[in-house]
């Protein structure tokens, strides 16, 4: 059976894509993870993970126009698929189920 749940990094990437919206390419995705997620990230790691997510059908990508500020190179924009959105929700449900009922995490002790 295909793996449905996401790793923490995959989850952060998918959430970052959702937060950034239509302009989601490598730089803003990495920046969102760094600034909001509080995790330093290498751009290559983002693209490697995005490649795996695309292979699993959780994201799709489109190529933009080449621009001068990128040395004449194009951007690759990413978007979640329906399957990707379901995977995010399923992972959230699993994490919340694990989270709930842990005494050490109640009342702000964590």
């Amino acid at each position: 059976m295909e793996r449905q749940l996401l790793t923490d990094f995959e989850l952060m990437i998918l959430l970052a894509i959702l937060r950034v919206g239509d302009a989601a390419y490598g730089v803003p995705i990495a920046r969102e993870i760094e600034e909001t997620g509080g995790r330093p990230v290498a751009l290559a790691s983002v693209y490697t993970a995005l490649g795996r997510l695309q292979h699993r059908g959780l994201v799709t990508s489109t190529t933009g126009e080449p621009t001068a500020e990128r040395g004449g190179r194009s951007k690759r924009f990413f978007k979640l698929t329906g399957k990707g959105l379901r995977a995010v929700k399923a992972t959230r449900r699993s994490l919340m189920a694990l989270w709930d009922g842990v005494p050490a995490l109640k009342g702000g002790l964590a």
Partner: protein
């Protein structure tokens, strides 16, 4: 800050990085650099990218990677043996080729080196020719690995290089236990220029292999 991103780093990424996203990634790095990131940041991202894409290839093709390392090491051992035999069969200025153990004694202090071959030319040429032979065998092995692994040539040669470096480190670690001559050999192998050249040769070949592949791909795209 200069307006141009580090050219060598960009070249390194295009040469040693793998995957379909390298050009897109390079565009992102240039965009961030021009927006104010430092050269150190750019270089760090490139080195991480080479490492990450290499690991990704290894994960995707573990058997091919293992085969590349094995082919490279077997070829290297065979070629080293042949080169050693060939050098031993040659006489230089009337003296038989002494092999690496004599050179090791020279470097270690010449305690057991035969006095008949202690001439100055021998000090220079024997280690130099031995080194050249080692470089040639390492380059040839890496070239064969690159030729046998087509699209995965960069990953294959990097895997061979990593295996070579790891075996060298391992061999140096256990050398004193294995042989009474080991202290001299360890001294010889620890000379920085020799060891560095010996280990960098396959990496150099991987750069050449990568360059060849890049130009091949550029022609195919055009």
């Amino acid at each position: 800050m200069t307006s141009h991103p580090p050219r060598i780093a960009a070249w390194l990424l295009r040469t040693l990085g793998s995957g379909n996203e390298i050009e897109v990634l390079l565009g992102d790095l240039i965009e961030e650099y021009l927006a104010g990131r430092s050269r150190t940041w750019f270089w760090w991202q490139v080195l991480v990218a080479v490492f990450v894409t290499f690991l990704d290839d290894v994960r995707a093709h573990p058997l091919l990677t293992a085969r590349a390392a094995a082919v490279g090491m077997i070829t290297l051992v065979a070629l080293d043996y042949l080169a050693f035999k060939a050098l031993n069969a040659v006489e230089f200025f009337g003296h038989p080729w002494p092999g690496i153990s004599v050179a090791a004694d020279h470097v270690a202090g010449g305690v057991r080196a035969p006095t008949t071959i202690m001439s100055s030319w021998f000090y220079l040429y024997e280690p130099l020719l031995t080194l050249l032979a080692k470089l040639a065998t390492a380059c040839a092995s890496a070239w064969l690995v690159a030729r046998l692994h087509g699209r995965l040539r960069t990953c294959a040669v990097l895997a061979f290089t990593a295996t070579l470096v790891l075996t060298r480190i391992y061999a140096r670690g256990i050398a004193p236990v294995l042989s009474p001559d080991a202290p001299q050999l360890a001294f010889w192998f620890s000379s920085v220029w020799y060891q560095g050249a010996r280990e960098l040769a396959p990496l150099f070949m991987s750069l050449l292999g990568g360059l060849g592949w890049q130009s091949h791909r550029a022609v195919a795209v055009r």
